[in-house]
Symmetry: C2
Subunit: 582 residues, 2 copies
């Protein structure tokens, strides 16, 4: 079967970095043309502008700059055809509301010093974390074809690929012999397997090979995991790009047999002639395991958040619990151990052993640990004219938590360090996380990790070299319970949270899955009531199919409760004591 | 001209409060049928569910509950036709992406114990604060007509009214003699005048009277201002409902001459016969002034945020500046003076005079003031193993700010009081607001108020009874400058912020408006760089046409800057010293 040599550049997602992206793309064009001797180079969706632009595209100057950058790339193009994602101006169009939109998500085809044509994304995802209908005009020509030498190709963008009756189907029916698909597909657990299954289904359904190209890198709460894939017309995987790392590769892709073209065709180039002698692919690399992928997603998102926002490093409090220990290990990998400052802040009643364990962990990770004694957190504040009641243990704990948060802030401010919050998804879900304790900080790496997954991450890290002290590991096997309130094991809690938050199941569904009605009612109430606290949580990286904040946008003021029939429970209190994990 | 008696119930927007909303609507139905003797009752958009549902509609149980509530209202309906907004299930539909959507924003027509028909909103706003394309299916029958006795009526919903070629045009062309329009239109400055102008234009263009019904009340960052309006077929205003208050009224609306109907018609009722003897309207009430409307918007949103989230009151620090003084006055009106706790937290070096002024302000407002001496904010924290450098004035100020924030949190926690942040839009725009100072808290009433508007609010409040001490008033006329950095007057700053943030103007436009290029470049850099800090700011009420957060969704990690050509400026620091207003 004759083949087209397709090069792929899995570049990092850098929103707004028009100069840097232009240079990265130009470098990939050089490589693809002269080193890989490729016929086509494919880059991710919005490779030139970055994905996750939000309302930046409403700045007309930004679109002007992107247009100028595209022209610059076109000038630098040679014989190679490059498919590069960017934003382009289109005639104003009204669709689902009264606003005209005049910017499209596009794939421009560059060749011979020119922009030879532009495909506009037809399907604009507007669900979960996606907001594309907000600012973009939808493309209207789903069956557009591109002549690249002997081959008629189709170009579709990301969401276009996920309809069973979308542009890839139209393009294949009209005569496309290969589909080139730029994507910006953020990571969540199981996503890579879903992408492969869908891409294989598209290929088989239409009888054409598919080249699926994705970003890598962190963008605020998202990690892009790369893992670009090439499948042949039978749906067989030919190549898998690296995950969570920049990558370049090329594949001689056998194209589908020629069919008489029936859609609009743009001539991109009269070359190349199809290759009859092709280089065979080796066995594709294995995908990362579930937990390894989560680990790398957090490392990627955290590291880029720190670097791209100009922080010099990160700081966090080591409480002696598993959350802060795993956060420290992730941070050491994300920004380098010498850019992590850990603080142990024992109160006078804290067991000496905990501080010793913290020191051992810091040594194992190679990070700096400072011990700060928080010995009289209220002594600086004199309340005049009021009797001072004896402090409860809870009040005292709260004061310590606040003093620790303030101290962290003070100590790191002149260094321009980002403070990490250590709260996990299980506790954030039900309002057990404290705004002044494990949610205090500028980024929460474990925000979307259920507690059971935090343990999995600890195990995964220790398999690569034991860093966590014995006490933490021992606790992995015990049944975890929260101290201050009666709650089930983390395994049970996480299952209920996943069903309600990720899968959108209702009370009846969750009870039908085998949980007691009282337990489920009580937990759903707590999840609903914690919406207020979650509004104040810092950002954190999405690792599940539905994270809080961008993926699940709930009103704060909201009188409806999924469990409103439950009269035996009292009104929830979103300011509950924090868990022992701190 | 024969008339239809149209009753309007301007009910509060209570998201999720299906029971409360059902009772409020049923009560309005009783009143409209038996006291007003009306032919039709019109309620706001999503009156039954509340507007601003977010992903609550993805809970199928919520849609089930709303459906049951609508059935309950239908059972309670009599001869009167009621047009009530709610969500309804529709056949699954794909539009702009690959997701099926099966819930529509609807207006149900209730009469004689039944749901006689349902109109589905056609245009789904997906810009600024609106996200309707995210979760809703669009209606497809824009020319639907409804027979209410002798009158053929059209029903359209909110955005439907704002196209020059939308459902109202189709309905009028098809024979509608009156348009009934439920809305959920949140407040911003100038919005009421825009609504009136558009409604008059629709009426005149189509030769039909229009009944425009809006919500009142607060929903998180939004205030709904009511101000429902009725205009006749010539575009004359017949009646204006109260602003920022619940209201019920009825108007005998002269209907347009009959035309042979050409669209699909649903018979809602064979009654009423058109009235020939009509009650004339008086002169419509005057609209609120610009500043009065802003005042009431903040009072409305803040008060509802406190009450609906179960807080018992609010607390704030009185710094001696105008921001905290105006915030205190707004709070006293929003939740009642006896639910406001003000804290003056002087450091040893604070002038005695400031504390005296604070006491006077608290007396004038009738709120409780507690004086707390913050005399040694760092004494509780002992950093072991490090030399303690002498503290700079800035470091000391920062420590005080943190101690004050922690103290506020401590003191109010057991009372379940909401802490108010006092930062204003001018300072938040350019990163002069401090996360541990004037942005510390759970709600920021002045978040969207430019500093010049804060002064206007102070003046407005003093006209209704002088509460602010002389020093604050005196400062109103002086040219305000920030202490730590060289910045222009607030009037100049606010003009530039408004052009960039609200109007989306670029550097060239703003310079063309008469500002120096150096000044504009420097300020745009600061506005862009402050995106990181704004991510951590608490919610606050929208009062301008473009507030931060919901209306203007910018990436945090973003290498593009509107002013990137300016090489003379150093990289911005989002942790700048807070302004003297604290």
């Amino acid at each position: 079967m004759p083949a087209l040599r397709v090069a792929v550049a899995q570049v990092p997602n850098r929103v707004g970095d028009l100069r840097g992206n232009t240079e990265r793309i130009a470098s990939a064009m050089e490589w693809a043309e002269h080193e890989a001797a490729a016929d086509v180079l494919v880059l991710p969706e919005l490779a030139l502008t970055g994905y996750g632009l939000g309302d930046l595209v409403l700045h007309r100057e930004f679109v002007d700059d992107a247009t100028a950058a595209l022209d610059e790339l076109a000038r630098r193009s040679g014989r190679l055809t490059t498919v590069v994602g960017t934003v382009t101006r289109v005639p104003p169009r009204r669709s689902w509301d009264t606003r005209d939109r005049d910017v499209a998500i596009s794939a421009a085809l560059l060749c011979g010093g020119e922009v030879r044509g532009t495909y506009h994304k037809v399907l604009l995802p507007t669900y979960d974390l996606f907001d594309e209908a907000r600012n973009f005009a939808a493309g209207t020509v789903g069956d557009q074809l591109w002549r690249i030498g002997d081959v008629i190709a189709g170009v579709a963008i990301c969401e276009d690929l996920w309809s069973a009756d979308g542009p890839p189907e139209a393009q294949s029916a009209a005569g496309a012999r290969i589909l080139l698909v730029p994507n910006a597909s953020p990571f969540h657990r199981g996503k890579a397997a879903g992408r492969l299954a869908n891409t294989r289904a598209v290929a088989r359904r239409n009888g054409v090979p598919v080249v699926y190209v994705n970003f890598v890198g962190g963008q605020d709460e998202l990690a892009f995991d790369g893992g670009s894939i090439v499948v042949d017309a039978d749906g067989r995987l030919l190549h898998r790009g690296r995950e969570f790392a920049e990558d370049r590769f090329w594949v001689d892709v056998p194209v589908a047999p020629p069919r008489p073209p029936q859609g609009p065709i743009t001539n991109v180039h009269t070359r190349p002639v199809l290759r009859e002698e092709v280089v065979a692919c080796g066995t594709p690399r294995e995908p990362l395991s579930d937990v390894a992928a989560v680990w790398h997603a957090i490392v990627t998102a955290l590291g880029d958040y720190v670097r791209r926002n100009g922080f010099e490093g990160v700081a966090l409090g080591l409480s002696g619990g598993i959350d802060s220990a795993v956060t420290a290990a992730l941070a050491a990998e994300a920004v380098g151990a010498d850019h992590v400052l850990a603080l142990a802040m024992p109160a006078p009643e804290t067991a000496e052993e905990e501080t010793i364990e913290g020191k051992r962990l810091a040594e194992n990770l190679g990070i700096v640990l400072q011990v700060v004694h928080v010995d009289a957190p209220s002594s600086g504040l004199v309340l005049s004219g009021e009797e001072t009641a004896p402090e409860s243990r809870y009040e005292r704990e709260r004061r310590y938590a606040r003093a620790r948060a303030a101290l962290l802030g003070d100590i790191v401010e002149e260094r321009r360090y980002l403070v990490l919050a250590t709260g996990n998804k299980s506790e954030i879900s039900i309002g057990e996380a404290s705004l002044f304790g494990d949610l205090a900080g500028g980024y929460a790496p474990l925000k979307d990790c259920p507690k059971t997954l935090v343990y999995d991450l600890a195990r995964f890290r220790n398999e690569r070299g034991a860093v966590f002290p014995r006490r933490l590991l021992d606790r992995l096997t015990s049944t975890q319970r929260f101290a201050p309130t009666e709650l089930p094991s983390y395994a049970t809690l996480d299952d209920i949270v996943q069903r309600y938050v990720e899968y959108g199941q209702g009370l009846a569904d969750i009870v039908a899955a085998g949980h007691s009605v009282e337990l489920v009612e009580g937990l759903l109430r707590r999840i609903d009531d914690a919406e207020l606290v979650r509004r104040y949580a810092p950002p954190g990286v999405k690792v599940t199919s539905r994270a809080f904040s961008q993926d699940r946008r709930m009103p704060i003021s909201n009188e409806w409760r999924a469990h409103r029939g439950v009269s035996s429970l009292q009104a929830g209190d979103p300011e509950l004591p924090s868990s022992p994990e701190g």
